[in-house]
């Protein structure tokens, strides 16, 4: 085994994540309060975006980092949930929460159906087929103009009411932060459960897991549905953030972006995905305010990461820490 893989196999998921959910929660609360108190609406929405992308990236990390399923079609579930929710709320005039619940169900059922097909394959083929399946949805949405509005998307979905109206940027951020905290906690618990360790076993050696009597296919199917659920949560939050959903929500570009967030942070560490999401939103907004060449800059950052920190920022930092500690001894 090469050293990078060994490093990832030995320490992935542990180490930097040990600073307990309590500390994480405290930091989150402080950040959210500070943002709501001091930052104007635009920046507040950026932070909201970061949290939404973080949920989305963590959900993909369950597949890419923990199970070793390289999906390049994860926007399918993000967009599916968002579109289903928007359509049910607009066309059938269902109340938002019911529409959102059904939207999430759509994402999970979609993941079940797609993976009946996709899980017949592995590795590069899995990547290609997930990409193609998400593209089926994208092209359906773009072409079925009567229902989905085509390229114009579906505008005019009001933010939900939860006792109070969740309209203002600050209130909405608090709500999103709550959903983020719960989602993170659930996924964090999941990857530390026997189920999570079985997933890592599948990533490292699928044949051995089969020999040990694990029904690998069922584990993969189940984790795909969980991942789709949280991707759907992110999709619905995004829909409400913008009061709008368009075909971009189902695009390859979005799937690629979220994959990049996971890889930049460090696949196989939920915290890395959060870092990746924050870095991505920052990079996109800061760089695009400096220069028109932001696509170039973003691309260059990815290339540099691939070359110098191929296992992701977190693993890179951990290795630096470890080697400096080794030297001082």
């Amino acid at each position: 085994m090469d050293p990078i893989r060994m490093a990832r196999a030995s320490g992935r998921g542990e180490g930097l994540l040990r600073p307990m959910p309590v500390a994480g929660g405290a930091i989150l609360v402080m950040v959210v309060l500070a943002v709501v108190a001091f930052l104007p609406a635009y920046q507040t929405e950026l932070v909201t975006q970061m949290l939404i992308y973080a949920i989305f990236a963590m959900s993909l990390d369950l597949l890419v980092g923990y199970t070793g399923l390289p999906s390049l079609g994860h926007s399918a579930y993000f967009g599916l949930a968002a579109y289903a929710t928007a359509l049910l709320a607009l066309k059938l005039a269902l109340p938002f929460w019911l529409a959102a619940a059904l939207g999430l169900a759509c994402a999970v059922i979609g993941a079940f159906l797609f993976n009946l097909l996709a899980l017949r394959t592995a590795r590069a083929y899995y990547l290609m087929i997930t990409l193609a399946l998400s593209q089926v949805l994208w092209s359906l949405v773009v072409s079925w103009t009567d229902v989905t509005g085509g390229d114009n998307g579906l505008p005019g979905i009001a933010r939900p009411v939860l006792g109070i109206r969740l309209d203002g940027a600050g209130v909405w951020l608090v709500f999103v932060a709550l959903v983020f905290a719960v989602s993170t906690l659930v996924m964090w618990t999941l990857v530390r459960s026997p189920f999570g360790y079985a997933l890592r076993g599948i990533r490292e050696n699928e044949e051995r897991m089969k020999a040990l009597g694990y029904n690998v296919w069922r584990y993969k199917l189940l984790v795909s549905m969980v991942a789709a659920f949280f991707a759907g949560v992110a999709g619905i939050l995004f829909l409400s953030l913008n009061s709008f959903v368009g075909p971009q929500a189902l695009s390859i570009a979005l799937s690629a972006q979220v994959l990049l967030m996971v890889l930049v942070g460090a696949a196989g560490t939920l915290f890395g995905s959060i870092f990746g999401a924050v870095a991505f939103v920052l990079l996109q907004n800061v760089v695009s305010s400096w220069t028109e060449r932001w696509l170039f800059v973003v691309g260059a950052v990815y290339v540099l990461f691939a070359l110098f920190a191929p296992a992701g920022a977190l693993v890179w930092v951990r290795e630096r820490l470890r080697s400096s500690r080794g030297r001082s001894r």
Partner: protein
Amino acid sequence: MSFWIVNTLNGLSLAMVLFVLSAGLTLVFGLMQIINMAHGSFYLLGGYIALSVIQASGSFLAGLVTACVAVMLLGAGIQRLMLQRLHKQELPQSLLTLGLLFIIADVAFWLWGGNAQLVPKPAVLEGAMTILGVGYPVYRVAIIGMGLFVAVLLWLLLERTRVGALVRAGMDDEEMVRAMGINIPLIFTGMFAFGAGLAALGGVLGGPLLGMFPGADFEVALLAFVVVTVGGLGSVRGAFLGSLLVGLVDNFGAAWFPQFSLFTVIVPMVIVLAIRPTGLAGRA
């Protein structure tokens, strides 16, 4: 009747552009297990470079040669300096090639602007000819010929030359080829450059039909992905079959169900994969 002839020929000419493009993608994957996300970028660069050279020199051939050589050099550089360090590491490879996709898209936008531009056809191939009583553009017929020519050439190269034998051996058992003292890194660089060159050739040939515009890289890469997935990753024969299927389905689909253009391409792919997960000609 003319409907069938025209759409079949249109489908075939698209199929041949796709074949030239996808052959590069599938060969690179077959040898090095790299899914090159930036393959469409090589297509875009090829088309744009040809466009500029043709505008400057007036010669289609000069444009074609310059574009292919320039993109091959670029490909060789990318493989030598970057991808070689990430051998067999799929996720960082995806990260790298996606990054390159962004960079090249932005540079192309910067240099060639945001408007769609058609690469000029060679003067000899302007105009129309009559096929089975139907008027049809000469250039499209030439593309079909060119695609078949490339297919035969690739077959000869892979099956009948020493380099081809080394490449096939590398696909089957890289370690063994290495152990026999063959310079496989050189073969890798060469193959990646060759694949990039094929993509550029696809851009030059397809440029007069499909045009070059920001986003063409993504669009065409997607079709190439469909082609190699249907055909089977790593198989040139599969890429040929896949291209025919995708090219024809795309044309007839667009003729019959114009509002569901991409959908009609992807549904047959899903069906093929449901029956044969490794594609028509793929190895398990």
